[in-house]
């Protein structure tokens, strides 16, 4: 872990604090009001606000998780730093692709 990775991991963590809180609040709101999937999709469809919100969330989570997993691999597996970094980048890209697909499905499809 160097200062650049440290900064990215802490910055994305700080960014996700409000994002997680709003996300949980939205889940409570949706479930307590008995909203169906169709109700939710009708509100999110075409919304630039929700696309930006969850797009940012996905980007932050992908960066944060991949840096953390890189550290775990470097410290707890026999992989070299370079190989751990390559695997972590692959994981980050996978998370970003899966997250982007979900955001696309909720907002655009």
């Amino acid at each position: 872990m160097n200062v650049r990775l440290y900064l990215w991991q802490r910055a994305t963590a700080a960014l996700m604090v409000p994002l997680v809180l709003v996300h949980i609040a939205v889940i409570f709101y949706a479930t307590r009001n008995g909203m169906t999937a169709a109700d939710i999709l009708s509100r999110t469809h075409g919304s630039i606000m929700w696309a930006s919100y969850y797009g940012l969330f996905v980007a932050a989570a992908s960066i944060h998780a991949s840096i953390g997993v890189r550290n775990v691999l470097a410290e707890w597996s026999p992989l070299t730093d370079r190989r751990a970094g390559m695997l972590a980048v692959a994981l980050g890209l996978l998370l970003a692709a899966l997250g982007a697909r979900a955001v696309f499905a909720v907002v655009l499809s």
């Binding site: 872990m1 160097n2 200062v3 730093d81």
Partner: protein, 240 residues
């Protein structure tokens, strides 16, 4: 008080084993007294390291019942409630023989962390006036009394997992120098500790501050280094 202690001592090198000895228990007995008794009265081939016997030199640290401790100031009554002592070499360092470890990696990392004072003046210039109550000097005072015993290094999980990690003692030394107004090596030091193996590898488990015999808090010093290196990186003074 028990009349006799059962003492398991590590014998041999990396692939050694614990051997059991019986040592008379005495009042105010230290763990170093126990080891010395075995060496002088039972087996003179036992190897271990000590010098001052009063907690100043930092030579006699060993693993005592699973935890690294300075043995000259650790009373048997404090750590051997059941009458049994298991004494091994420090963790995270190569074993030379029996209870003596090779401290070279520990001190090499001091060098890598730029733990050497870099003078900013010559002897012909006036001596720098340092106010004892200045925030920088207070930070130095809180961290300066390290005796290089290696207890924090042996206690550190991150050192165990990451062979490149400088460890708590080297980083605490770097912290004292960064806060020394007379030192001119600040930027090079920040650069050294901002890379792989530097302060950002610390997980803040705080084993170092829990076990430091001098009651120092290396975790706090490392937190200070994290803040300083991050600020320097954002200002473009150092590179990742």
């Amino acid at each position: 008080m028990l009349a006799e202690l059962t003492v398991s001592l590590w014998r041999g090198g990396k692939d050694g084993r614990y051997e059991t000895y019986h040592v008379p228990q005495r009042a105010s007995q230290t763990v170093l007294d126990v080891v010395t008794f075995v060496q002088r009265h039972i087996d003179s081939t036992l190897s271990y390291r000590f010098a001052c016997r009063v907690g100043v030199c930092g030579s006699c640290a060993m693993t005592v019942n699973g935890k690294p401790r300075w043995t000259c100031r650790t009373h048997v009554s404090k750590v051997a409630g059941s009458g049994h002592l298991e004494i091994g070499p420090l963790e995270n360092l190569p074993v030379i023989k029996d209870l003596a470890t090779d401290m070279e990696p520990f001190f090499e990392k001091w060098q890598k962390a730029q733990g050497v004072f870099a003078p900013s003046k010559t002897r012909h210039e006036e001596i720098e006036q340092i106010r004892p109550d200045s925030p920088a000097r207070r930070a130095v005072d809180a961290a300066i009394e390290c005796i290089n015993c290696g207890v924090c290094y042996a206690a550190c999980d991150t050192v165990r997992w990451n062979a490149d990690y400088f460890g708590p003692a080297a980083l605490t030394r770097a912290w004292t120098l960064l806060n020394d107004e007379r030192d001119a090596g600040g930027t090079a030091r920040l650069q050294a500790i901002a890379g792989s193996g530097g302060c950002h590898s610390c997980h803040s488990h705080q084993s170092c501050q829990e076990l430091c015999p001098q009651a120092l808090n290396p975790t706090a010093a490392i937190s200070g280094l994290k803040r300083r290196t991050t600020a320097a990186y954002l200002k473009g003074e150092i590179k990742a």
